[in-house]
Symmetry: C2
Subunit: 141 residues, 2 copies
C-alpha cells in the first residue's frame, strides 16, 4: 500500500469515529494548515490538529444526524489527494475539499505536511467562519 | 494519451492564450458549472463557456501582469483532475482549484461534464464575487 493510500485509510477511519486512530500520528511536526476562511497559514502539528478537531466538532465527525457530512469523491495522484465533501450546517449546504500533501522525505516521510481546505458557495464560507470561530473559542476556554 | 491528459493539455493552451483552442469543443453539451460563490448549478455548455470566459477576463487569462494567475499543482485520477491555482486581484491573494470531471460515455465522452471552482480565503471569495458579477453584467450589456 502506498503512503498516500495508507494515510487516507487512517484518515477515513478517524473521520468515521474510530478512536484507535491517533490523528497526531498522521500529521508531520512541521505541517501547515490552510483554512478556507483565513489567509494566514497555521504552522505546526499542534495547531493543525486543533483545527482538524474543531472542524470535526463543527461537522459532527460523521456522528451527527444534523451535519450529514459525507465524502463524495477522491482524487489521488502521487503524494497528494483531494477529497471532496458535502454537508449541511444550520440549513446551509456546504461543498468543499480537503487537499492533503504528504512529506516525501525526512524522518516523518509519509505523514501530512500540508492540509488545505476550501469550501463553496459563499454562504458556506461565511457559515463555517462563524461556527469555527465559536468552536476554537470554546476549545480555548 | 488518456482523455483527461488530452483535455488538460488543451485547457492549459486555452488558459495560456492559444486562440487555436476552441473552449466550447472541450465542454460537454450538458456540462454543469459550479461557481465558488453561488449555490445554483449553471447548466449547459453555453453558460459554462460564459462563466469560464468571464473568469478568464477577471484573471487576465495569463496575459495580465496584474493578476499573475498561475497553476501551482495538478492532481489527476481516473476521469477527474484538480488544478490548484494562485492569483492576486486588486491586492487580494486568491488560492483556488478547478475540479474537472470528464464524461465517460456517450457521443461526447472525453469532454468536460462538470466544472467546479472553489477559492479561499474568505476575502478572495468576496473579491471574486464582486469582479465576476461586474464581468458577467458587462458581457450581457
Amino acid at each position: 500500500m502506498s503512503a498516500i493510500d495508507d494515510v487516507l485509510e487512517q484518515w477515513h477511519r478517524y473521520v468515521g469515529g474510530d478512536r484507535r486512530v491517533d490523528l497526531a500520528d498522521l500529521i508531520h511536526p512541521d505541517c501547515v494548515f490552510h483554512s478556507p476562511v483565513v489567509y494566514t497559514p497555521q504552522e505546526g502539528r499542534a495547531i493543525t490538529v486543533a483545527y482538524l478537531e474543531a472542524a470535526g466538532a463543527v461537522f459532527g465527525s460523521g456522528e451527527s444526524s444534523d451535519g450529514g457530512f459525507r465524502y463524495r469523491s477522491q482524487i489521488v495522484g502521487g503524494d497528494q489527494a483531494v477529497l471532496e465533501f458535502e454537508s449541511e450546517l444550520d440549513g446551509i449546504y456546504i461543498n468543499g475539499i480537503d487537499m492533503i500533501t504528504l512529506a516525501t522525505d525526512g524522518d516523518h516521510a509519509g505523514t501530512i505536511i500540508e492540509f488545505k481546505v476550501m469550501v463553496r458557495p459563499l454562504q458556506a464560507v461565511n457559515k463555517l467562519h462563524q461556527l469555527m470561530a465559536s468552536q476554537l473559542e470554546s476549545d480555548r476556554s
